[in-house]
């Protein structure tokens, strides 16, 4: 059990860092967090997920490049008609294409596995033997999930940028409002968009973590989370449910596109961040309530 070994290391670290009366250090969870990040990102599965995500922009880019020969056209993911004119738009297209399914799915694997996976592998009880505290462990798990979502978003964006540079011309970026801005500003906006996408996923991460505390099977937690993400999006597409849609977490996901207007249109972005915050608080606290009170048998 290599994971258990690594855990043992941190626990050793923790013990050394904590003084005799076990007063928490100011940077109390850094050691645990560093260890958790290491475990997450060293895992082969995580690397595979990131590699698959990196392939999406390549596919989109090649498809657009091949398709351009016969004129392109409308339809498909957002911004796709703008890609041929400016490679930077491949970043936005790729993010718009991966945000509904690929990114949440990858995140669900990491977040859903966070607690349930440890329980399933029988390592959870050893984790809790350490004087780390369940709350702290949960926070660290959540932080690792967020770090993964940021990394995944950046991987998609970076891969898209590279493919965009290779396959398409670059230059002044035409915003949605028809205003042209210098390429550097376009790059900054692309970075902001990637940040927005990562923030849009915080709700899913909290949801996945909560589901993860409910079960002892990592696979079940991942599947449930993915299922919830898809269900929410199907509900979000049914016109008859317009009344509840503003409260579904994917509802404002595409609002990241509002960063590409001139001036930026903040209303939906604000709604998106507010909604994600509510989901984080709700499912985060639910996960905390569940995890700190349940019996750990595995």
């Amino acid at each position: 059990m290599s994971r258990a070994d690594t855990r043992a290391d941190t626990q050793a670290d923790g013990e050394l860092g904590v003084s005799g009366d076990r007063a928490p250090r100011p940077l109390w969870s850094l050691g645990l967090l560093r260890n958790e990040l290491g475990t997450t990102f060293r895992r082969r599965r995580t690397l595979m997920l990131l590699a698959v995500l990196a392939c999406v922009p390549v596919l989109v880019g090649i498809a657009v490049r091949v398709q351009t020969a016969d004129g392109g056209g409308r339809g498909g993911p957002a911004f796709i008609s703008l890609v041929t004119n400016n490679g930077l738009f491949l970043v936005f297209t790729s993010l718009a294409a991966t945000l509904p399914v690929f990114l949440p799915m990858a995140l669900a694997v990491v977040a859903g596995d966070a607690i349930a996976g440890e329980a399933g592998a029988g390592t959870l009880r050893y984790l809790l033997v350490a004087p780390a505290g369940r709350t702290r462990l949960l926070l660290v798990k959540y932080a690792a999930a967020l770090a993964f979502s940021l990394a995944a978003t950046l991987v998609v964006a970076a891969s898209a940028l590279i493919v965009g540079v290779l396959l398409f011309p670059l230059g002044e970026v035409t915003l949605l409002s028809g205003t042209a801005v210098p390429f550097t500003e376009g790059l900054l906006r692309a970075l902001a968009v990637a940040g927005m996408v990562a923030l849009s996923l915080t709700g899913v991460a909290a949801l996945g973590l909560f589901v993860s505390t409910l079960t002892g099977s990592g696979i079940a937690a991942m599947a449930t989370t993915v299922g919830l993400v898809l269900t929410a999006q199907i509900l979000d597409a049914l016109p008859q449910l317009a009344a509840v849609q503003p409260y579904l977490f994917p509802h404002y996901w595409l609002s990241f596109a509002d960063l590409l207007r001139d001036p930026v249109y903040w209303d939906d972005i604000r709604s998106n961040l507010g909604l994600q915050a509510v989901y984080v608080l709700l499912f985060g606290s639910a996960a905390w309530a569940r995890f700190t009170t349940r019996d750990i048998t595995a």
């Binding site: 004119n85 009880r125 230059g171 596109a257 207007r261 700190t292």
Partner: protein, 419 residues
């Protein structure tokens, strides 16, 4: 048991019998509280924001109309929200495609043509950003999901840009002005809609001041316009007029049948400062496909002949049907209950119904609706009644069409009288 528990908690748990249960309850209380606070916020915020009627000195309806008419606000910028719910049957062919972001369908070269965009605005909810500086500098941007449609007028230059298809539409000169824009687009702003409502006033209409309201953070009087005639399907028109400068801030048209407004257009935020000069500057992106207004117009006219997209109930300015000829049409009655009578099911005929809101239905549309109508009979013979929330139409079996913003009885009565 304690072997699994973190030490601090274990200590507590060993203390007493019902501690764990209580602590469990307390902990589960946190997410419940979060949910409660969120639900309360969702439920209460609109309630607080909505009817916070400000205290304003009394004003007569006449003074209020005068105030609105005299309003000389030249500079403003803001966000307008338009919701239209005509109660039309869901149409095949993506009439409401705009509501789903990517407006699909078979957009031709004229994707940036203002006319097509106006069609989209006629259904669903849309957010517009508007800015104006004097009579000849305006900008309207329709905020779509991941796309934007901008219409910019600066002097005699008119540009439209559709980011979804990366197409720019260019028009210049007075002709362009008539064809393309701010005028027709301006009809969708509260100003224009309100003016139309006020012009419709007369002996058929009661106009009163109905309290005050807060719109886009500004104090406003509510002007209430109600038809006096019984058969009208129009319940009430409310116009919120800025108490300070007389700018109409919100326009609401409610049907007599109750429910959500048929049309609601209002500012969600507004600022009367001079917009930045750069707002009205537009040069087409290098890579955009640029379409010349005149070419598109001829194309468009050709297409329009075989396109069944003129719908009853759409204000004529929206459908762009205004230019069509109107032969073979009589208007029965006047004011709110005016009914248009159109003879024969001849193809592609434009027609006008009365009052401020006009209706148009081509033969194609009528044929399409034939499957949706409800059978009625009278001394005129028999026919079908087609209903929307605002406009009803009676198509008799001999092909005569009666259409107006009136209830079914009035239509049948009119048909009977006409026989």
């Amino acid at each position: 048991m304690p072997r699994n528990e973190p030490k601090r908690i274990t200590g507590e748990w060993d203390d007493g019998g019902d501690r764990p249960r209580r602590s469990k309850l307390v902990r589960y209380g946190v997410p419940v509280a979060v949910a409660g606070v969120a639900a309360a916020t969702i439920g209460l915020v609109p309630a607080f924001a909505g009817p916070g009627a400000p205290d304003l000195p009394e004003i007569s309806a006449q003074d209020l109309i005068a105030k609105a008419a005299a309003s000389d606000v030249q500079q403003l910028s803001g966000t307008v929200r338009i919701s239209t719910d005509l109660g039309l049957p869901e149409l095949p062919g993506g009439m409401s495609a705009g509501a789903f972001g990517e407006s699909g369908g078979d957009k031709d070269g004229g994707a940036a043509d203002p006319k097509d965009k106006l069609m989209e605005l006629a259904s669903g909810t849309h957010t517009l950003r508007v800015a104006a500086d004097g009579a000849d500098r305006q900008r309207v941007s329709v905020i779509d999901k991941a796309a934007e449609y901008s219409l910019v007028r600066n002097g005699d230059k008119v540009w439209a840009y559709d980011s979804g298809s990366n197409t720019a539409f260019r028009a210049t000169g007075p002709q362009a002005e008539k064809h393309a824009t701010p005028r027709s687009m301006g009809d969708m702003t509260p100003q224009k809609l309100a003016k139309q409502a006020l012009e419709a006033a007369g002996d058929t209409t009661s106009v009163t001041v109905d309290g005050t309201a807060k719109v886009a953070g500004r104090d406003a009087y509510q002007l209430l316009v109600k038809p006096k005639q019984a058969g009208s399907t129009v319940g009430a028109i409310r116009v919120a007029v800025d108490a300070q400068n007389g700018v109409p801030l919100r326009f609401t048209l409610s049907p007599k049948s109750g429910g959500a407004p048929v049309v609601e257009a209002g500012f969600t935020s507004v600022d009367f400062a001079k917009p930045e000069a750069g707002t009205f500057a537009f040069s087409p992106p290098e890579d955009a496909k640029v379409i010349d207004g005149d070419e598109v117009r001829t194309q468009h006219d050709r297409k329009a002949e075989n396109r069944p997209n003129k719908l009853p109930g759409l204000p004529q300015e929206l459908t762009g049907a205004g230019a069509r000829d109107a032969d073979g049409m009589d208007v029965i009655g006047h004011g709110w209950t005016a009914i248009a009578k159109i003879d024969g099911g001849s193809e592609g005929k434009g027609e006008k119904a009365a009052t401020g809101r006009k209706a148009g239905a081509t033969g194609d549309a009528a044929a399409f609706m034939d499957s949706l109508g409800e059978k009625v009979t009278g001394t005129f013979g028999s026919g079908h009644v087609f209903s929307t929330r605002l406009v009803n139409a009676l198509v008799t079996d001999d092909g005569t069409v009666y259409v107006g913003a009136v209830d079914r009885q009035s239509l049948i009565k009119a048909a009977n009288a006409a026989k």
